[in-house]
Protein backbone atom coordinates (compact mmCIF):
# COMPACT_ATOMS: atom_id res chain seq x y z
CA UNK A 1 0.00 0.00 0.00
CA UNK A 2 3.02 2.26 -0.11
CA UNK A 3 2.13 3.42 -3.61
CA UNK A 4 -1.19 4.59 -2.34
CA UNK A 5 0.73 6.79 0.00
CA UNK A 6 2.04 8.67 -3.03
CA UNK A 7 -1.45 10.13 -3.51
CA UNK A 8 -1.29 11.36 0.03
CA UNK A 9 2.23 12.45 -0.71
CA UNK A 10 1.13 14.74 -3.55
CA UNK A 11 -1.26 16.46 -1.18
CA UNK A 12 1.39 16.41 1.49
CA UNK A 13 3.83 18.06 -0.90
CA UNK A 14 1.37 20.86 -1.51
CA UNK A 15 0.74 21.25 2.19
CA UNK A 16 4.44 20.99 2.98
CA UNK A 17 5.24 23.49 0.24
CA UNK A 18 2.75 25.98 1.62
CA UNK A 19 3.94 25.26 5.12
CA UNK A 20 7.54 25.70 4.06
CA UNK A 21 6.73 29.02 2.37
CA UNK A 22 4.79 30.19 5.39
CA UNK A 23 7.65 29.20 7.61
CA UNK A 24 10.36 30.56 5.34
CA UNK A 25 10.71 33.89 7.12
CA UNK A 26 11.00 32.48 10.63
CA UNK A 27 13.22 29.74 9.21
CA UNK A 28 15.61 32.30 7.82
CA UNK A 29 15.45 34.19 11.06
CA UNK A 30 16.38 31.01 12.94
CA UNK A 31 18.98 29.84 10.41
CA UNK A 32 16.75 27.00 9.19
CA UNK A 33 16.63 27.96 5.55
CA UNK A 34 18.97 25.20 4.31
CA UNK A 35 18.62 21.48 5.00
CA UNK A 36 21.84 19.66 4.20
CA UNK A 37 23.12 16.09 3.99
CA UNK A 38 26.01 15.68 6.43
CA UNK A 39 28.69 13.23 7.45
CA UNK A 40 31.74 13.08 9.64
CA UNK A 41 33.62 11.23 6.90
CA UNK A 42 36.75 13.02 5.75
CA UNK A 43 36.45 11.64 2.21
CA UNK A 44 36.07 14.67 -0.10
CA UNK A 45 34.63 12.39 -2.82
CA UNK A 46 31.59 11.32 -0.79
CA UNK A 47 29.04 12.68 -3.26
CA UNK A 48 26.04 10.39 -2.90
CA UNK A 49 23.51 10.30 -5.72
CA UNK A 50 19.86 10.88 -4.84
CA UNK A 51 19.04 7.19 -5.43
CA UNK A 52 21.88 6.09 -3.16
CA UNK A 53 20.68 8.37 -0.35
CA UNK A 54 17.13 7.02 -0.75
CA UNK A 55 18.38 3.42 -0.66
CA UNK A 56 20.49 4.19 2.40
CA UNK A 57 17.48 5.43 4.41
CA UNK A 58 15.22 2.65 3.10
CA UNK A 59 17.42 -0.01 4.68
CA UNK A 60 19.52 -1.10 1.72
CA UNK A 61 23.24 -1.55 2.12
CA UNK A 62 25.09 1.36 0.52
CA UNK A 63 28.84 1.02 0.20
CA UNK A 64 31.12 3.91 -0.68
CA UNK A 65 34.78 3.14 -1.32
CA UNK A 66 34.44 -0.13 0.60
CA UNK A 67 32.78 1.50 3.60
CA UNK A 68 29.26 0.55 4.65
CA UNK A 69 27.41 3.82 5.25
CA UNK A 70 25.22 4.11 8.36
CA UNK A 71 22.04 6.20 8.12
CA UNK A 72 21.02 8.40 11.04
CA UNK A 73 17.49 9.81 11.01
CA UNK A 74 17.36 13.29 12.49
CA UNK A 75 14.00 13.78 14.22
CA UNK A 76 14.98 16.87 16.15
CA UNK A 77 12.61 19.11 14.19
CA UNK A 78 9.20 18.41 12.59
CA UNK A 79 9.82 20.51 9.49
CA UNK A 80 13.20 18.87 8.95
CA UNK A 81 11.51 15.46 9.24
CA UNK A 82 8.92 16.48 6.63
CA UNK A 83 11.69 17.63 4.30
CA UNK A 84 13.41 14.25 4.79
CA UNK A 85 10.23 12.31 4.01
CA UNK A 86 9.51 14.41 0.93
CA UNK A 87 12.97 14.94 -0.54
CA UNK A 88 14.88 11.84 0.53
CA UNK A 89 12.56 8.82 0.80
CA UNK A 90 9.58 10.31 -1.12
CA UNK A 91 6.85 8.73 0.98
CA UNK A 92 4.54 9.46 3.88
CA UNK A 93 5.64 8.86 7.46
CA UNK A 94 3.27 5.87 7.72
CA UNK A 95 4.50 4.29 4.49
CA UNK A 96 8.14 4.82 5.52
CA UNK A 97 7.46 3.20 8.88
CA UNK A 98 5.83 0.17 7.24
CA UNK A 99 8.64 -0.14 4.71
CA UNK A 100 11.29 -0.22 7.45
CA UNK A 101 9.28 -2.77 9.44
CA UNK A 102 8.91 -4.97 6.35
CA UNK A 103 12.64 -4.84 5.60
CA UNK A 104 13.34 -5.73 9.22
CA UNK A 105 10.88 -8.64 9.14
CA UNK A 106 12.15 -10.07 5.85
CA UNK A 107 15.90 -9.81 6.23
CA UNK A 108 16.50 -8.50 9.72
CA UNK A 109 17.68 -5.17 8.34
CA UNK A 110 18.31 -2.76 11.19
CA UNK A 111 16.31 0.43 10.96
CA UNK A 112 18.21 3.75 10.85
CA UNK A 113 19.35 5.07 14.18
CA UNK A 114 17.25 8.02 15.34
CA UNK A 115 18.40 11.18 17.08
CA UNK A 116 16.11 13.79 18.63
CA UNK A 117 18.39 16.76 19.28
CA UNK A 118 21.35 18.59 17.73
CA UNK A 119 23.60 17.26 20.47
CA UNK A 120 22.56 13.65 19.80
CA UNK A 121 23.11 14.20 16.09
CA UNK A 122 26.65 15.51 16.53
CA UNK A 123 27.42 12.66 18.92
CA UNK A 124 26.09 10.09 16.45
CA UNK A 125 27.98 11.58 13.53
CA UNK A 126 31.27 11.46 15.35
CA UNK A 127 30.79 8.16 17.20
CA UNK A 128 29.11 5.98 14.55
CA UNK A 129 31.62 5.21 11.83
CA UNK A 130 30.62 6.20 8.30
CA UNK A 131 27.34 7.73 9.42
CA UNK A 132 25.29 9.93 7.12
CA UNK A 133 22.49 12.22 8.27
CA UNK A 134 20.81 15.53 7.50
CA UNK A 135 20.45 18.73 9.46
CA UNK A 136 19.82 22.44 9.28
CA UNK A 137 22.92 24.00 7.85
CA UNK A 138 23.05 26.46 10.74
CA UNK A 139 23.22 23.53 13.19
CA UNK A 140 26.36 22.06 11.68
CA UNK A 141 28.17 25.12 10.37
CA UNK A 142 31.60 25.46 11.87
CA UNK A 143 31.37 22.13 13.72
CA UNK A 144 34.76 20.42 13.46
CA UNK A 145 34.77 17.06 11.62
CA UNK A 146 31.22 17.46 10.26
CA UNK A 147 31.06 17.96 6.50
CA UNK A 148 28.19 19.00 4.28
CA UNK A 149 27.73 16.57 1.38
CA UNK A 150 25.10 18.64 -0.41
CA UNK A 151 21.98 20.73 0.05
CA UNK A 152 18.69 18.83 0.29
CA UNK A 153 16.30 21.76 0.54
CA UNK A 154 16.33 25.52 0.76
CA UNK A 155 13.58 27.90 1.81
Amino acid sequence: MERSASVKLTRRRLVTGMLATALAWPCRAQGRDHAVLVTAESDPDLSLATLEVRKLFLGFTVVHDGRVLQPVRNRSDDLLDQIFLQHVVSMSAEAYERRLLARFLRQGRARPREVRSREELLRALTSVRHSVSYAWQADVEGVPDVHVIRTLWRA
Binding site: S4, V7, G66, L105, G108
Partner: protein, 361 residues
Amino acid sequence: MHSVKFLGAFFLLAGLLGEALPIRAEELSQRTELLIFASGEVRGFDGGQPFVESDNLLLSADLLGTWTRGRWHALAEVLLTTDEQELERLQLGWEPVPDTFLWIGRFHQPGSIWNTRQHHGQYLQPSITRPAIENWEDEGGVLPQHVEGLLFESRRPLGARRGVALSAGVGISAQLKDGALEPMKLFNPRNNDRLPSYSMQIAFLPDLTEDDAVGLLASHNELAFDPLPRSDGYDHVDLEVLGCYLDIGRGRWQLTSTAYAVHAKVSGALAAAEDRFLAGYLQLQYQLDGGLTALARLEATGGTADSAYLVLFPGFVEGRSVLDLRWDFAPRQALSLELADTHAPRKDYRELRIQWSAALP
Protein backbone atom coordinates in the same frame (compact mmCIF):
# COMPACT_ATOMS: atom_id res chain seq x y z
CA MET B 1 23.67 -35.89 -7.18
CA HIS B 2 21.27 -32.97 -7.62
CA SER B 3 22.28 -31.73 -4.18
CA VAL B 4 25.98 -31.76 -5.05
CA LYS B 5 25.40 -29.78 -8.27
CA PHE B 6 23.15 -27.28 -6.51
CA LEU B 7 25.63 -26.74 -3.67
CA GLY B 8 28.47 -26.39 -6.18
CA ALA B 9 26.59 -23.70 -8.11
CA PHE B 10 25.60 -22.04 -4.82
CA PHE B 11 29.16 -21.59 -3.59
CA LEU B 12 30.53 -20.72 -7.05
CA LEU B 13 27.98 -17.90 -7.30
CA ALA B 14 28.81 -16.77 -3.78
CA GLY B 15 32.51 -16.75 -4.55
CA LEU B 16 32.07 -14.72 -7.73
CA LEU B 17 29.85 -12.19 -6.01
CA GLY B 18 32.26 -11.98 -3.09
CA GLU B 19 35.01 -10.87 -5.46
CA ALA B 20 32.83 -8.37 -7.28
CA LEU B 21 32.57 -5.59 -4.71
CA PRO B 22 34.01 -6.52 -1.36
CA ILE B 23 33.11 -4.75 1.83
CA ARG B 24 36.20 -3.99 3.85
CA ALA B 25 36.52 -6.39 6.74
CA GLU B 26 37.63 -3.62 9.08
CA GLU B 27 34.54 -1.50 8.42
CA LEU B 28 32.41 -3.10 11.10
CA SER B 29 29.48 -1.58 12.87
CA GLN B 30 27.47 -3.75 15.24
CA ARG B 31 23.70 -3.46 15.70
CA THR B 32 21.13 -5.52 17.56
CA GLU B 33 17.40 -4.96 17.40
CA LEU B 34 14.27 -6.63 18.80
CA LEU B 35 10.71 -6.24 17.58
CA ILE B 36 7.47 -7.93 18.59
CA PHE B 37 4.53 -8.43 16.26
CA ALA B 38 1.61 -8.99 18.62
CA SER B 39 -1.97 -9.88 17.81
CA GLY B 40 -5.21 -10.98 19.43
CA GLU B 41 -7.95 -12.61 17.42
CA VAL B 42 -11.52 -13.69 18.10
CA ARG B 43 -13.17 -15.95 15.53
CA GLY B 44 -16.46 -17.64 14.99
CA PHE B 45 -17.62 -20.30 12.54
CA ASP B 46 -20.93 -21.11 10.95
CA GLY B 47 -21.33 -24.61 9.55
CA GLY B 48 -18.97 -26.39 11.89
CA GLN B 49 -15.47 -25.83 13.16
CA PRO B 50 -12.83 -26.31 10.45
CA PHE B 51 -10.59 -29.31 10.84
CA VAL B 52 -7.40 -27.41 11.64
CA GLU B 53 -8.78 -24.67 13.91
CA SER B 54 -8.72 -25.28 17.64
CA ASP B 55 -9.74 -22.32 19.81
CA ASN B 56 -11.91 -19.33 19.05
CA LEU B 57 -9.49 -16.99 20.79
CA LEU B 58 -5.94 -16.76 19.54
CA LEU B 59 -3.25 -14.61 21.11
CA SER B 60 0.15 -14.46 19.51
CA ALA B 61 3.50 -12.72 19.81
CA ASP B 62 6.09 -13.02 17.08
CA LEU B 63 9.48 -12.13 18.52
CA LEU B 64 12.04 -11.06 15.97
CA GLY B 65 15.63 -10.40 16.96
CA THR B 66 18.49 -9.43 14.68
CA TRP B 67 22.19 -8.88 15.01
CA THR B 68 24.42 -7.25 12.41
CA ARG B 69 28.17 -6.81 12.38
CA GLY B 70 29.72 -5.67 9.14
CA ARG B 71 28.78 -8.19 6.50
CA TRP B 72 27.50 -10.75 9.03
CA HIS B 73 23.85 -10.98 10.00
CA ALA B 74 21.83 -13.17 12.35
CA LEU B 75 18.07 -13.38 12.58
CA ALA B 76 15.82 -15.30 14.96
CA GLU B 77 12.03 -15.43 14.87
CA VAL B 78 10.10 -17.15 17.66
CA LEU B 79 6.33 -17.46 17.55
CA LEU B 80 4.45 -17.77 20.84
CA THR B 81 0.71 -18.33 20.62
CA THR B 82 -2.06 -19.86 22.68
CA ASP B 83 -1.81 -22.79 20.20
CA GLU B 84 1.92 -23.32 19.83
CA GLN B 85 5.46 -22.18 20.59
CA GLU B 86 7.90 -22.55 17.76
CA LEU B 87 11.25 -21.35 16.52
CA GLU B 88 10.17 -20.19 13.07
CA ARG B 89 13.42 -18.87 11.65
CA LEU B 90 17.02 -19.01 12.79
CA GLN B 91 19.45 -17.77 10.18
CA LEU B 92 23.10 -16.79 10.11
CA GLY B 93 23.91 -14.78 7.02
CA TRP B 94 26.87 -13.36 5.14
CA GLU B 95 26.54 -10.38 2.81
CA PRO B 96 29.46 -10.57 0.37
CA VAL B 97 28.18 -7.63 -1.68
CA PRO B 98 25.44 -5.14 -0.87
CA ASP B 99 21.98 -6.75 -0.86
CA THR B 100 23.27 -10.24 -1.60
CA PHE B 101 23.01 -12.74 1.26
CA LEU B 102 24.02 -16.30 1.90
CA TRP B 103 22.09 -17.70 4.86
CA ILE B 104 22.39 -20.97 6.73
CA GLY B 105 19.73 -22.17 9.14
CA ARG B 106 15.96 -22.52 9.21
CA PHE B 107 14.07 -20.26 6.82
CA HIS B 108 10.81 -19.87 4.93
CA GLN B 109 11.20 -21.45 1.52
CA PRO B 110 11.35 -18.92 -1.34
CA GLY B 111 8.84 -20.86 -3.44
CA SER B 112 6.09 -18.90 -1.62
CA ILE B 113 5.94 -15.17 -2.26
CA TRP B 114 3.32 -14.58 0.46
CA ASN B 115 5.31 -16.21 3.23
CA THR B 116 8.66 -14.72 2.27
CA ARG B 117 7.07 -11.26 2.33
CA GLN B 118 4.77 -11.53 5.37
CA HIS B 119 6.43 -14.25 7.48
CA HIS B 120 4.62 -14.18 10.85
CA GLY B 121 4.35 -10.38 11.06
CA GLN B 122 0.58 -10.21 11.43
CA TYR B 123 0.55 -6.40 11.67
CA LEU B 124 2.10 -6.03 8.22
CA GLN B 125 -0.18 -8.63 6.61
CA PRO B 126 -3.04 -6.94 4.75
CA SER B 127 -5.66 -9.57 5.71
CA ILE B 128 -6.19 -11.52 8.92
CA THR B 129 -5.82 -14.90 7.20
CA ARG B 130 -3.39 -15.94 4.52
CA PRO B 131 -4.56 -17.69 1.33
CA ALA B 132 -5.18 -21.38 2.09
CA ILE B 133 -2.56 -22.55 -0.42
CA GLU B 134 0.02 -20.47 1.54
CA ASN B 135 -1.02 -21.85 4.95
CA TRP B 136 1.67 -22.93 7.37
CA GLU B 137 2.15 -26.67 7.76
CA ASP B 138 0.38 -26.81 11.14
CA GLU B 139 -2.59 -24.84 9.77
CA GLY B 140 -3.46 -27.46 7.15
CA GLY B 141 -1.02 -26.20 4.51
CA VAL B 142 -0.33 -28.61 1.66
CA LEU B 143 2.98 -27.06 0.54
CA PRO B 144 6.08 -27.21 2.78
CA GLN B 145 7.05 -23.74 4.04
CA HIS B 146 9.91 -24.28 6.52
CA VAL B 147 13.25 -25.63 5.34
CA GLU B 148 16.57 -26.15 7.12
CA GLY B 149 19.57 -25.58 4.92
CA LEU B 150 21.10 -22.86 2.75
CA LEU B 151 19.39 -19.79 1.33
CA PHE B 152 20.73 -17.37 -1.28
CA GLU B 153 19.06 -13.96 -1.69
CA SER B 154 20.09 -11.16 -4.02
CA ARG B 155 18.60 -7.92 -5.29
CA ARG B 156 20.51 -6.38 -8.20
CA PRO B 157 19.96 -3.28 -10.33
CA LEU B 158 18.78 -3.62 -13.90
CA GLY B 159 19.51 -0.33 -15.60
CA ALA B 160 19.06 2.95 -13.77
CA ARG B 161 16.04 2.22 -11.55
CA ARG B 162 14.76 -1.28 -12.27
CA GLY B 163 15.96 -4.43 -10.59
CA VAL B 164 15.86 -8.17 -10.35
CA ALA B 165 15.52 -10.24 -7.17
CA LEU B 166 16.59 -13.84 -6.91
CA SER B 167 16.19 -16.27 -4.00
CA ALA B 168 17.14 -19.93 -3.97
CA GLY B 169 17.03 -22.40 -1.12
CA VAL B 170 18.23 -25.97 -0.63
CA GLY B 171 17.75 -28.03 2.49
CA ILE B 172 15.79 -30.61 4.42
CA SER B 173 12.10 -30.92 3.70
CA ALA B 174 9.06 -31.69 5.84
CA GLN B 175 7.53 -35.08 6.62
CA LEU B 176 3.95 -36.24 6.18
CA LYS B 177 2.52 -37.29 9.51
CA ASP B 178 -1.03 -37.64 10.84
CA GLY B 179 -2.69 -35.76 7.98
CA ALA B 180 -0.32 -32.81 8.01
CA LEU B 181 3.14 -31.71 6.98
CA GLU B 182 5.63 -31.56 9.79
CA PRO B 183 8.82 -29.54 9.27
CA MET B 184 11.96 -30.53 11.12
CA LYS B 185 12.31 -28.92 14.53
CA LEU B 186 15.78 -27.42 14.69
CA PHE B 187 16.51 -28.30 18.31
CA ASN B 188 14.44 -31.46 18.43
CA PRO B 189 15.21 -33.09 15.10
CA ARG B 190 13.83 -36.48 14.26
CA ASN B 191 16.08 -36.91 11.30
CA ASN B 192 14.84 -40.28 10.15
CA ASP B 193 13.93 -40.32 6.48
CA ARG B 194 14.13 -36.57 5.91
CA LEU B 195 14.37 -35.85 2.19
CA PRO B 196 15.65 -32.82 0.23
CA SER B 197 13.91 -29.59 -0.66
CA TYR B 198 14.80 -27.12 -3.46
CA SER B 199 13.00 -23.84 -4.00
CA MET B 200 13.49 -20.53 -5.76
CA GLN B 201 11.86 -17.30 -6.85
CA ILE B 202 12.96 -14.75 -9.42
CA ALA B 203 11.30 -11.38 -9.77
CA PHE B 204 11.43 -8.35 -11.99
CA LEU B 205 11.25 -5.13 -9.98
CA PRO B 206 9.95 -2.09 -11.90
CA ASP B 207 11.65 0.06 -9.24
CA LEU B 208 14.57 -1.42 -7.32
CA THR B 209 13.67 0.48 -4.15
CA GLU B 210 9.94 -0.37 -4.20
CA ASP B 211 8.10 -3.60 -3.33
CA ASP B 212 6.27 -3.98 -6.65
CA ALA B 213 7.27 -7.22 -8.36
CA VAL B 214 6.33 -9.72 -11.04
CA GLY B 215 7.97 -13.10 -10.77
CA LEU B 216 8.22 -16.85 -11.06
CA LEU B 217 8.29 -19.46 -8.30
CA ALA B 218 9.48 -23.06 -8.37
CA SER B 219 10.07 -25.79 -5.83
CA HIS B 220 10.75 -29.49 -5.62
CA ASN B 221 10.15 -31.24 -2.31
CA GLU B 222 10.48 -34.88 -1.43
CA LEU B 223 8.25 -35.76 1.51
CA ALA B 224 8.68 -38.96 3.47
CA PHE B 225 5.78 -40.58 5.32
CA ASP B 226 6.13 -41.13 9.03
CA PRO B 227 5.56 -43.73 10.38
CA LEU B 228 6.31 -46.48 7.89
CA PRO B 229 5.23 -48.95 6.62
CA ARG B 230 1.75 -47.79 5.58
CA SER B 231 -1.17 -50.02 4.64
CA ASP B 232 -1.47 -48.35 1.21
CA GLY B 233 2.16 -49.13 0.37
CA TYR B 234 3.23 -45.52 -0.12
CA ASP B 235 6.47 -44.29 1.42
CA HIS B 236 7.10 -40.83 -0.04
CA VAL B 237 5.78 -37.99 -2.23
CA ASP B 238 7.63 -36.04 -4.92
CA LEU B 239 6.03 -32.61 -4.98
CA GLU B 240 6.85 -30.18 -7.78
CA VAL B 241 5.39 -26.68 -7.85
CA LEU B 242 5.64 -24.02 -10.53
CA GLY B 243 4.10 -20.63 -9.95
CA CYS B 244 3.89 -17.05 -11.08
CA TYR B 245 2.88 -13.95 -9.16
CA LEU B 246 2.43 -10.22 -9.30
CA ASP B 247 2.26 -7.65 -6.54
CA ILE B 248 1.65 -4.21 -7.96
CA GLY B 249 0.46 -0.95 -6.40
CA ARG B 250 -1.01 2.04 -8.20
CA GLY B 251 -2.26 5.02 -6.24
CA ARG B 252 -4.59 3.69 -3.55
CA TRP B 253 -4.88 0.26 -5.20
CA GLN B 254 -2.81 -2.85 -4.59
CA LEU B 255 -3.21 -6.01 -6.66
CA THR B 256 -1.67 -9.27 -5.46
CA SER B 257 -2.07 -12.57 -7.25
CA THR B 258 -0.35 -15.93 -7.35
CA ALA B 259 -1.04 -19.10 -9.35
CA TYR B 260 0.54 -22.49 -8.69
CA ALA B 261 0.64 -25.61 -10.84
CA VAL B 262 1.31 -28.60 -8.60
CA HIS B 263 2.49 -32.03 -9.69
CA ALA B 264 2.41 -34.66 -6.96
CA LYS B 265 3.64 -38.23 -7.28
CA VAL B 266 2.75 -40.42 -4.32
CA SER B 267 4.76 -43.61 -4.51
CA GLY B 268 6.21 -46.60 -2.74
CA ALA B 269 7.71 -49.98 -3.47
CA LEU B 270 4.30 -51.49 -4.20
CA ALA B 271 2.13 -48.60 -5.37
CA ALA B 272 2.23 -45.23 -7.16
CA ALA B 273 -0.28 -42.51 -7.99
CA GLU B 274 0.19 -39.23 -9.81
CA ASP B 275 -1.89 -36.10 -9.98
CA ARG B 276 -1.79 -32.47 -11.03
CA PHE B 277 -3.83 -29.58 -9.71
CA LEU B 278 -3.93 -25.80 -9.83
CA ALA B 279 -4.32 -23.35 -6.96
CA GLY B 280 -4.26 -19.59 -6.81
CA TYR B 281 -5.70 -16.36 -5.49
CA LEU B 282 -6.46 -12.84 -6.60
CA GLN B 283 -6.46 -10.09 -4.00
CA LEU B 284 -7.37 -6.43 -4.41
CA GLN B 285 -6.84 -3.75 -1.77
CA TYR B 286 -8.05 -0.17 -1.69
CA GLN B 287 -6.92 2.44 0.79
CA LEU B 288 -9.74 4.60 2.06
CA ASP B 289 -9.42 7.81 4.05
CA GLY B 290 -9.13 7.74 7.82
CA GLY B 291 -6.62 4.90 7.99
CA LEU B 292 -9.08 2.38 6.55
CA THR B 293 -8.15 -0.31 4.03
CA ALA B 294 -10.65 -2.57 2.27
CA LEU B 295 -9.59 -5.91 0.79
CA ALA B 296 -11.25 -8.64 -1.26
CA ARG B 297 -9.64 -11.98 -2.08
CA LEU B 298 -10.81 -14.88 -4.17
CA GLU B 299 -9.08 -18.25 -3.76
CA ALA B 300 -9.68 -21.13 -6.15
CA THR B 301 -8.34 -24.55 -7.11
CA GLY B 302 -8.79 -26.82 -10.12
CA GLY B 303 -8.21 -30.49 -10.82
CA THR B 304 -8.31 -31.48 -7.16
CA ALA B 305 -10.92 -34.24 -7.53
CA ASP B 306 -9.51 -37.70 -6.80
CA SER B 307 -6.10 -36.23 -5.96
CA ALA B 308 -3.98 -38.90 -4.28
CA TYR B 309 -1.95 -36.17 -2.57
CA LEU B 310 -4.72 -33.87 -1.34
CA VAL B 311 -6.68 -36.75 0.14
CA LEU B 312 -3.89 -36.89 2.72
CA PHE B 313 -5.01 -33.46 4.03
CA PRO B 314 -8.50 -33.62 5.53
CA GLY B 315 -8.61 -29.85 6.11
CA PHE B 316 -7.69 -28.81 2.56
CA VAL B 317 -9.59 -25.73 1.35
CA GLU B 318 -10.72 -25.81 -2.29
CA GLY B 319 -12.10 -22.32 -2.55
CA ARG B 320 -12.66 -19.25 -0.43
CA SER B 321 -13.96 -15.70 -0.73
CA VAL B 322 -12.58 -13.21 1.76
CA LEU B 323 -13.53 -9.63 2.66
CA ASP B 324 -11.42 -7.56 5.03
CA LEU B 325 -11.68 -4.11 6.54
CA ARG B 326 -8.67 -2.80 8.40
CA TRP B 327 -8.38 0.34 10.51
CA ASP B 328 -4.94 1.68 11.41
CA PHE B 329 -6.20 3.58 14.44
CA ALA B 330 -2.88 4.42 16.09
CA PRO B 331 0.81 4.33 15.17
CA ARG B 332 1.77 0.66 14.63
CA GLN B 333 -1.64 -0.63 15.71
CA ALA B 334 -4.58 -1.84 13.65
CA LEU B 335 -8.02 -3.41 14.06
CA SER B 336 -9.28 -5.76 11.34
CA LEU B 337 -12.57 -7.45 10.54
CA GLU B 338 -12.69 -10.41 8.15
CA LEU B 339 -15.54 -12.39 6.63
CA ALA B 340 -14.83 -15.57 4.70
CA ASP B 341 -16.91 -18.13 2.85
CA THR B 342 -14.96 -21.37 2.59
CA HIS B 343 -15.51 -24.47 0.50
CA ALA B 344 -13.76 -27.66 1.65
CA PRO B 345 -14.35 -31.20 0.35
CA ARG B 346 -15.77 -32.41 3.67
CA LYS B 347 -17.78 -29.32 4.64
CA ASP B 348 -18.44 -25.70 3.79
CA TYR B 349 -18.36 -23.01 6.45
CA ARG B 350 -18.35 -19.27 7.02
CA GLU B 351 -15.89 -17.47 9.24
CA LEU B 352 -15.91 -14.16 11.09
CA ARG B 353 -12.71 -12.85 12.60
CA ILE B 354 -11.85 -9.70 14.53
CA GLN B 355 -8.23 -8.95 15.21
CA TRP B 356 -6.03 -6.40 16.92
CA SER B 357 -2.43 -6.35 15.65
CA ALA B 358 0.59 -4.24 16.50
CA ALA B 359 4.32 -3.85 16.04
CA LEU B 360 6.04 -3.20 19.37
CA PRO B 361 7.78 -1.14 20.58
